[in-house]
Amino acid sequence: MVGSKQRRIPGALLIGATILFFYLPIILMIVFSFNDSRSLTSWNGFSLRWYQELTRNREIVQVVTTTIVVAIISTIVSTIIGTITAIGLSKCSRLLKEIILDVNDLPILNPEIVTAIGMMLLFSSLAVEKGFWTMLLAHIAFSIPYVILSVLPKLRRLDPNIAEAALDLGAKPMTAMTKVIIPQIMPGIISGALIAFTMSFDDFVISYFVTGNGVKNISIFVYTMSKRVNPTINALSTIMVVLITIALVAVNIVPFVTKRKEEGKA
């Protein structure tokens, strides 16, 4: 027993050091978002001025709105198209399925910058004016492959007889799909939608190449701003960190705790 404890100490140190490495910059960023000066290195006292700046600065409000609107619309559209396509794929011939999946893998395997310039060239060739709509279309396009890949495995595990039974019992194909197939693959759809949302929310490279007319999302704003240090970004990031942490805790810890409680009751 003593031996195994001793062996664990380097492991614990290593894990601790890694977590410190991952969180140190984030903690500093949070601390300095409450700093009463422009400095990101020396502490001048507590203040909420950067958070006030966040609501006053029109450009930032605009940027945050764009990011959220693009993320929500692209998540909805890509989840619907991705799910429908995955259902279709599970029923089509092996060859067609292979071809579609290989093409579908391209944006996932390609470096982002390659996908980005491809889209940029596409939009310019079609003489589409770059801005909000091109950004939205690009986000839908790069999200669908991930939705398909997260829904497809759930369909593979699905018993085809159940949908057949629904059809035999007189359900229309549309009803069979919404009442029988979709509820069973819901976990895959939800995780696909989550991936789509975060990918869109965090995207920089693709948005950067396909946007225009001064339309910016948060990432582009940070990129163009970072040349002159601005603590407003720290405030914005802190809010994002808090929201993400709450969401992650809700997703990961709550089911865990409720499960425990239920087990306790039983």
Binding site: V114, M120, L149, I244
Partner: protein, 283 residues
């Protein structure tokens, strides 16, 4: 049921427009002269010849050097961490994995940006060094800063991949190894490590690929004059406006990445399982 087949049709059209055509356009631009419209292309290899100028080859070499360095560091740090986590109680493991995942959900630019206040010339690290009587060190705008930024951003991928391959492992194989008289080291070398190799390999892919193509990290931590291949492409498209040359560089980069992925996958015995891991990695 067969009627559901037609559901793939919209995506066939969509995928053709947004995945296939863009790739074709990159190839087209890479092999044509600049200035002409897409319909009257004049084929040329000049864009590729131009790349073999020593200046650009040097940029490519530097990018590969930094990406390989980053990947090696991530394996060397990531494996022991993943291994240490996999030895803990299951609840603790879940908790630690969430703790490692949280930063990944924070905007990559924001996370990289956060390092600047630590490592800049009058940043926190240097303030501490000066306060304890040492001379300040130059970290910002060096290879070290860029590699640090990359390791910081990509190490979680490596840890998660290796950890999942370690925990998916059939424990009875390890027990069998002990029963047959192997000691800890032998069991690790002959059983655990080979079985975790698929995780290491998908980790390498997930680190090397973004590391070789990123232009954000070198720009933020390496400064404006720090050029890796991603920056070169960005410059061609955003500042210089030489789309044909930019397309050629992207094509060269894509080929290098494909070759390196093909080589890495050769080491993998179970590519199908690998695909699943990669897909589940983000969630």
């Amino acid at each position: 049921m067969k009627g559901f087949r037609s559901l793939v049709r919209p995506y066939i059209v969509f995928g053709f427009i947004f995945i296939v055509i863009p790739m074709v356009l990159i190839v087209l631009y890479a092999f044509t002269k600049s200035g002409n419209s897409v319909l009257t292309f004049q084929f040329t290899f000049d864009n590729f010849k131009k790349f073999f100028d020593p200046v650009f080859v040097k940029v490519l070499g530097k990018s590969l050097e930094i990406a390989i360095m980053t990947t090696v560091i991530c394996v060397l740090i990531g494996y022991p961490i993943a291994y240490a986590i996999s030895k803990l109680k299951e609840n603790t493991q879940t908790f630690l994995i969430v703790v490692i995942t949280v930063p990944m959900w924070i905007n990559m630019l924001v996370r990289t940006y956060a390092w600047i206040s630590l490592i800049s010339d009058n940043g926190i690290i240097n303030s501490i060094l000066v306060a304890i009587g040492l001379s300040p060190v130059k970290i910002m705008y060096t290879d070290f800063a860029v590699t640090l930024g990359m390791v910081y951003n990509f190490l979680p991928f490596m840890i998660l991949q290796i950890h999942s391959s370690l925990t998916r492992m059939d424990y009875s194989l390890i027990e069998a190894s002990y029963d047959l008289g192997a000691n800890r080291t032998q069991t690790f070398r002959k059983v655990v490590f080979p079985l975790s190799l698929s995780g290491v390999i998908s980790g390498i892919t997930l680190v090397f690929l973004p590391a070789v193509s990123t232009f954000v990290i070198p720009k933020l931590l390496g400064g404006g004059s720090y050029v890796l291949i991603g920056n070169l492409i960005e410059n061609q498209f955003i500042t210089v406006g030489e789309w044909n040359f930019g397309s050629a560089i992207s094509l060269i980069m894509a080929v290098i990445i494909m070759i390196s992925m093909w080589v890495t996958r050769k080491f993998d015995q179970d590519p199908e399982a690998n695909r699943e891991v990669v897909n589940n990695g983000g969630v």
